[in-house]
């Protein structure tokens, strides 16, 4: 009897040992899920250097879920849903929700210093030393990180205007129902 029990233990021990090695989950899955909700602006307004580090900080309990202005209230709600926490309003210490914008370089003022190119987290600025730079508008996340380094203040943030292709059906007025 004792032998059988010992043998069973041994078998389970081996199975568990193997599964620990073979089915090991790479990285922290909750971090990936949190990161998927974050807007990937990479703006650093949350005080972390990018969306991934902020996701890691949320997962470890170091940061709160309301530090991401570009994600807005929808983002906070989604994070609260995922983590089983109470949703809360955006902490305005980290900035306010702004309309989505893109960076635009006033090209005649650009002196070609490449500082904005180095600051861009998604390599969306094109140019080289002493040559005029320009923003690839499609790739720009609107993080504003290029604005401060510019020594001649030639980068402005322009809100993205609604066009026919981005137009959305409005919700009906809710006065009565």
């Amino acid at each position: 009897m004792i032998l059988i029990i010992c043998a069973t233990f041994a078998v389970f021990g081996v199975v568990l040992g193997f599964s620990a090695v073979y089915f090991k989950v790479q990285g922290n899955p909750i971090v990936d899920k949190i990161e998927a909700i974050l807007p990937q602006t990479q703006c650093g307004q949350c005080s972390y250097p990018g969306c991934r580090p902020y996701a890691e900080a949320i997962a470890s309990g170091e940061a709160d879920i309301n530090q991401c202005p570009p994600g807005g209230q929808d983002g906070i709600n989604a994070l609260a849903d995922l983590l089983g926490l109470e949703a809360k309003p955006l902490n305005d210490e980290f900035g306010a929700v702004k309309p989505k914008s893109v960076a635009v370089i006033i090209e005649e003022d650009c002196i070609g210093c490449t500082k904005c190119i180095q600051a861009c987290p998604v390599d969306a600025i094109l140019g080289s030393a002493k040559m005029m730079h320009t923003v690839i508008a499609n790739e720009c996340t609107g993080c504003e990180l290029c604005v401060a380094p510019c020594p001649v203040d030639c980068i402005v943030m322009e809100p993205i205007e609604q066009t026919i292709s981005t137009w959305q059906w409005p919700e009906p007025e809710r006065k009565y129902a």
Binding site: L38, S165, W167, W169, A177
Partner: protein, 495 residues
């Protein structure tokens, strides 16, 4: 005779078709201006191929693009390109977009074109090319490029061509009128489609009140002596003219959710499209005009006309006697699925089947919405067998995942639920709004994924640069150390 099936729900609506289907089909006169929007579908914009000041002839391509879903735009009369600028376009947003404007010269000179006398000698690919070059899109309202529809891929085996003449929406009679006046071109169009698809069965479905169209079509089929074509009368229940609903009625088969009719072997084409195919293949004429119903109690002489695509609605209304004093609202499309227009300078497009100048008697204006009483009438009326009430709660709460779970994207926005709702809740608008939110969210997620990839690559590049820099520094240090050592040794030797 076929055994007809039924689809779930649907409504018997007062059809108001006698307003416009009594008058004879007439040719509309050449308008002073022709306006062509460059945006064809969301994300598909064609490029102008003409310059301001250039003279164009009827049938000349004025805009095109390489996008697979784009179709060429042809001038509908001769004249001079007056401007390429932003104008209001027929779109539910009521926004403006870039349009080509032609000032017509009244000469109506046309490019010389030639069709093929015997289409049966043509291979399917060249018929499709002819259809594409003629700029033909589905004239039922969705305006999907017909040439693409005709090529559903080798994995889908087609057996039936369904010609949709079941014009179910109230007020609209343009297909009825076309079938009465030109049954031959519709049927020869069907023969061309049968030939290009290699199938042997065509069903022309019309509603049971279209007696004259039925008689004319039956006569024409007898004259053509083509046993492949059958005319079927289907009961007039709104929305029988919906593609998936009509397929269910005629074949008994259900199109899978998220699928297309070709998945179940059916290709459904509007009768107007078939007629346009005939014009394109046999006469070599591109799509520059179509039958449009101008109706409603807000216009003096409701009727159907052959209208040049690009004609401003104001000119069309003028040709139909002008507005009556009770006109309240201008709608493109029918009262159920159409949308209101902010201005009558907007021009008709290929998808325009009806211009409804509505009075208070024609359309429901501003009924107050009351809270939902959970009566469930909407679910009984839904032709797609959805749960409109659940969709309403979830779209109202912005619960988009739940909306998708309840098959929001299967909703055809027919408006049956809204008509039966005793609380007059604007249900369809809730669904449309939820749909656009889902689409916008998907686009954002796509953009975020791209941003993440670029950021990861940026970090990788930075790390690599740093490593290279460190490596260079190390090598330099080593070289320096070597030189120093060598110098030291040299010094040692000399001393």
């Amino acid at each position: 005779m076929l055994n007809l099936a039924r689809f779930h729900g649907g409504l018997h609506l007062p059809n108001n078709k006698e307003l416009s289907n009594q008058a004879p089909l007439r040719q509309a006169s050449i308008p002073k201006k022709l306006v062509y929007p460059l945006m064809q579908r969301p994300g598909v914009t064609v490029d102008p191929k003409v310059q301001v000041g250039e003279r164009v002839l009827r049938g000349q391509v004025i805009a095109h693009s390489d996008h697979p879903l784009a179709t060429p735009v042809h001038a509908a009369s001769s004249g001079v390109i007056e401007a390429i600028e932003e104008r209001l376009i027929p779109h539910p947003s009521g926004m403006a977009d870039v349009c080509i404007v032609i000032a017509t010269d009244g000469l109506d000179e046309s490019l010389v074109t030639q069709g093929v006398a015997d289409f049966s000698s043509q291979d399917p690919a060249s018929i499709r090319t002819a259809i594409k070059n003629a700029g033909i899109v589905g004239l039922g309202g969705a305006a999907f490029p017909t040439a693409i529809k005709l090529n559903p891929g080798p994995q889908r085996k087609l057996d039936t061509l369904l010609l949709n003449g079941a014009e179910c929406e109230p007020y609209i009679t343009c297909d009825d009128c076309l079938m009465q006046n030109q049954p031959e071109s519709v049927l020869v169009g069907a023969q061309i489609l049968l030939h290009s698809l290699h199938i042997e069965r065509c069903i022309v479905a019309i509603e049971d009140h279209m007696k004259r169209a039925y008689a004319r079509l039956t006569q024409a089929v007898a004259a053509l002596n083509d046993p492949r074509i059958i005319i079927v009368q289907v009961p007039a229940i709104y929305p029988t003219g919906g593609e998936k609903q009509l397929i269910k009625v005629v074949t008994g088969k259900e199109t899978p959710s998220g699928g297309i009719p070709a998945d179940i072997g059916v290709l459904c084409v509007n009768v107007g499209t078939a007629s346009a195919v005939y014009d394109a293949v046999c006469k070599g004429k591109p799509l520059t005009e179509r039958v449009i119903t101008v109706t409603g109690r807000g216009v003096k002489e409701p009727q159907n006309r052959y209208v040049r695509i690009g004609t401003p609605i104001s000119e069309l209304i003028e040709q139909c006697g002008g507005y009556t004093e009770h006109v309240e609202r201008l709608i493109m499309g029918g009262p159920m699925m159409g949308f209101a227009l902010p201005d009558d300078e907007i021009a008709v497009v290929k998808a325009t089947n009806c211009i409804l100048a509505g009075t208070a008697a024609d359309i429901n204006i501003g009924k107050q919405a009351m809270p939902c009483i959970r009566c469930g009438d909407c679910a009984k009326a839904c032709p797609v067998d959805l749960l409109p009430q659940q969709l309403y709660w979830h779209s109202r709460a912005g619960n988009l995942d739940k909306c998708k779970e309840f098959s929001l994207f299967d909703c055809i926005e027919c408006g049956c639920c809204e008509v039966v709702c005793p609380s007059h809740i604007p249900l369809v608008q809730y669904y449309r709004s939820a749909k656009s939110k889902v689409i916008a969210k998907a686009k954002e997620a796509e953009k975020a994924a791209v941003a993440k990839r670029r950021h990861d690559m940026h970090l990788e590049r930075k790390a690599k640069e740093q490593a290279e820099k460190a490596e260079r520094a190390r090598l330099k240090k080593e070289a320096l150390a070597k030189v120093k050592q060598a110098n030291a040794e040299k010094e040692g030797v000399t001393q």
